[in-house]
Symmetry: C2
Subunit: 410 residues, 2 copies
């Protein structure tokens, strides 16, 4: 930590800035940080319902709005947020200056609605910081090499914050949310869920990909790659008492529990291509074509053949990809002369995550036995060094989370 | 006209794009123009109440919001407008691309909230036009040399449109409004007001500065300087029947009427510095100091002295300048040891305008007699080659307009 700069990056989400009172409160909090001697860079999202309102305006014009223009439209939400926060800081007697993604040189690729950050020019920000300004940057947006406004997709403002923290070599990236931290499982399912004090990048990555919504995987990836410490904090608690979750490199002081958290992901569906000839290269063909169409496949099982020379191939994809996945698999089925395609929407993925699993054999076996003892049938399994996921019937999802949390986290 | 390019610039105000239906209608109209074989550049304002809503959001944060951040905030309104119009054009199967002031290179000076356009880079627009795109540009906004977002002040989108028409050497600049043209006087005062078919730049300048609100003086000045033909049209009438007002160079086919229009301006106040020593340089001092503070003075009268060596100096300024003008005049009064300052808020300026006055002596005399015959006292007079203005009691304003319009325009 000691080699890092004096810069702190803070990120405030839309619910933190959705009316004048909240904006003033955020401004005070930013000023407190500044007064503590830090150089402060703040990333702000679109206030409250702004983005939803813009989306419904566009929907009134077109059922499928042109994607470049959609980015042009949506980017205004964050621009409003930064202007209002900067005004509130001025009003309290401190210097602040706001910048759009374009102005501050957040260069992305040209993929509208889910662009990736390619580079950030830190010159302007650093100049303003040396002039004692608090720098307010619009989250979620950037500019393509062709100078079109782009947006970064879901969780985009977190991404902006982490990427800025990385290029500015920031001391810490503080992400203010209404949940106030990362929990051992979803508190709305298990009231006894506990806030995790410290968690490693790898565990957080697995949690995010397994369905925890507090932070998107891409943000965690960038943090890990650049060793950016992330503090997830609450927007509503005074700074002194505001202990949330620290996401950091796996180091000694990470408490060595076996299982850090339990997640439930109901956004998956299971697809099966039934009666596929058992020839080399079939799996490569199926998943190659899905990947080409940008359909991310999560779990894959190739079942043992019922008949000689015939396989069933099952996999899970995100629910919103259903329509396109069915189209592509239909084409593949015809080509391969497979028997059928079966889609199962009533599935849920439950996962347990923790670095401690590496050194503790038997965690997986314990999980399977526990589910079996409770009459929960496991349809698919996948494992990594620090995660075990099972696909089960979605009706049993919440019960499974409660059982696993009780066993491993309480 | 024949040497001009094939480009048409159209401008749509906020009321033309304040819901999905209107935006679709505007898109159809733009497409009609494109189908007629023109290259079309469209300037769009912020939809409906957007700007007012943004202003009240800012007011919730600060009674006097920082001016750079205010421009950052307000510029989002036009950005929403252009995205929505471009989407609507796409939806109808035509190619369109929207640009912010920043993207299209509308460079202004650095005076936030009332910046002046310094230059426009036409490269990007011309490239998109050759690729058969309809180009949609955000009105009202630009970017300063320091890359701060600026706004152009009242009537700013008209200014963007006329300036674009000038640099693109456009065939015509069509300004769509809800009034649909320039009238011989305010139709809400005189129901018999007639739409003016053609009017010269000079007459339009005088009309605008005398209080007609359809187009700001700065836009007319730029049009005159660059010989841009402006068509003021209605947003609500089908193109074929849509004959509004053409603003152009004074040429033969401008009908030679004496008086083109009558205006009433209730936004002026009269100030008098009473008992000023009659020394050389006094007027220069007073109006020099007011000009330095950016207070535009309209009419000036130095009255004949009641006593030897003592003058009264009266002038009119815009109502919103009252507070600052009183401060400055108070200072001057003390310095000059003048007797008093008198402010009269109950004044109105009525004006008659027309190029025909040049060659018709006696129009001024006729106006003065008419007012006198109707017991309307004239407090101040100013004249130009094509305009005569009188300051009268504001209670008599509407009556004076009716009398003058009846005499000169019906």
């Amino acid at each position: 930590m000691s080699k890092r700069s004096n810069i702190v990056v803070q990120k405030y989400g839309g619910t933190s800035v959705d009316d004048a009172e909240k904006i003033k409160r955020v401004a005070s909090q930013i000023i407190e940080k500044k007064k503590s001697g830090k150089s402060v860079v703040v990333v702000v999202s679109a206030p409250g319902d702004t983005t939803d309102n813009l989306i419904s305006m566009a929907a009134g014009i077109s059922p499928d709005p042109e994607i470049r223009e959609m980015d042009m439209l949506l980017a205004t939400g964050e621009q409003q947020g930064i202007a209002l926060v900067a005004m509130a800081i001025h009003e309290q007697g401190y210097k602040a200056i706001s910048f759009t993604g374009h102005q501050v040189g957040i260069i992305t690729d040209s993929v509208h609605s889910r662009a990736r950050i390619k580079s950030i020019n830190t010159k302007k920000i650093k100049k303003e910081l040396t002039q004692d300004n608090i720098v307010i940057v619009a989250g979620f947006q950037g500019i393509s090499p062709e100078e079109n406004i782009t947006t970064l997709g879901r969780g985009g403002s977190d991404l902006s914050a982490v990427a800025l923290a990385a290029v500015l070599d920031a001391h810490v990236c503080e992400i203010y949310t209404n949940v106030g931290g990362v929990y051992s499982t979803n508190p709305s399912i298990v009231p006894g869920a506990v806030k995790i004090e410290k968690i490693s990048y790898d565990e957080m990555l697995e949690l995010a990909s397994a369905g925890a919504k507090v932070l998107q995987s891409r943000s965690v990836e960038i943090a890990k790659k650049n060793n950016v410490r992330i503090d997830i904090k609450s927007s509503y608690i005074d700074e002194q008492k505001n202990s949330g979750t620290i996401i950091m490199k796996e180091i000694k002081d990470l408490e060595q529990v076996e299982v850090r958290g339990v997640t439930l992901d109901k956004n998956q569906i299971r697809m099966s291509i039934v009666g596929v000839p058992d020839r080399p290269g079939i799996a490569a063909k199926i998943f190659g074509e899905l990947a080409e169409e940008n359909i991310n496949v999560d779990m894959i099982i190739q079942s043992s053949a019922h008949e000689t020379g015939i396989n069933d191939i099952s996999f899970t994809v995100n629910r919103e990809m259903l329509k396109r996945a069915v189209e592509i698999c239909g084409r593949i089925k015809d080509e391969l002369k497979a028997r059928d395609i079966i889609t199962d929407k009533d599935v849920a993925k439950i996962s347990i995550i923790g670095v401690g699993m590496r050194s503790h054999a038997g965690v997986a076996a314990g999980m399977f036995k526990l589910l079996s003892d409770n009459n929960i049938n496991i349809e698919m399994i996948s494992t990594s060094e620090i995660k075990i996921s099972c696909v089960i019937n979605s009706k049993k999802g919440k019960a499974a989370v409660k059982i696993l949390h009780k066993e491993f986290c309480e």
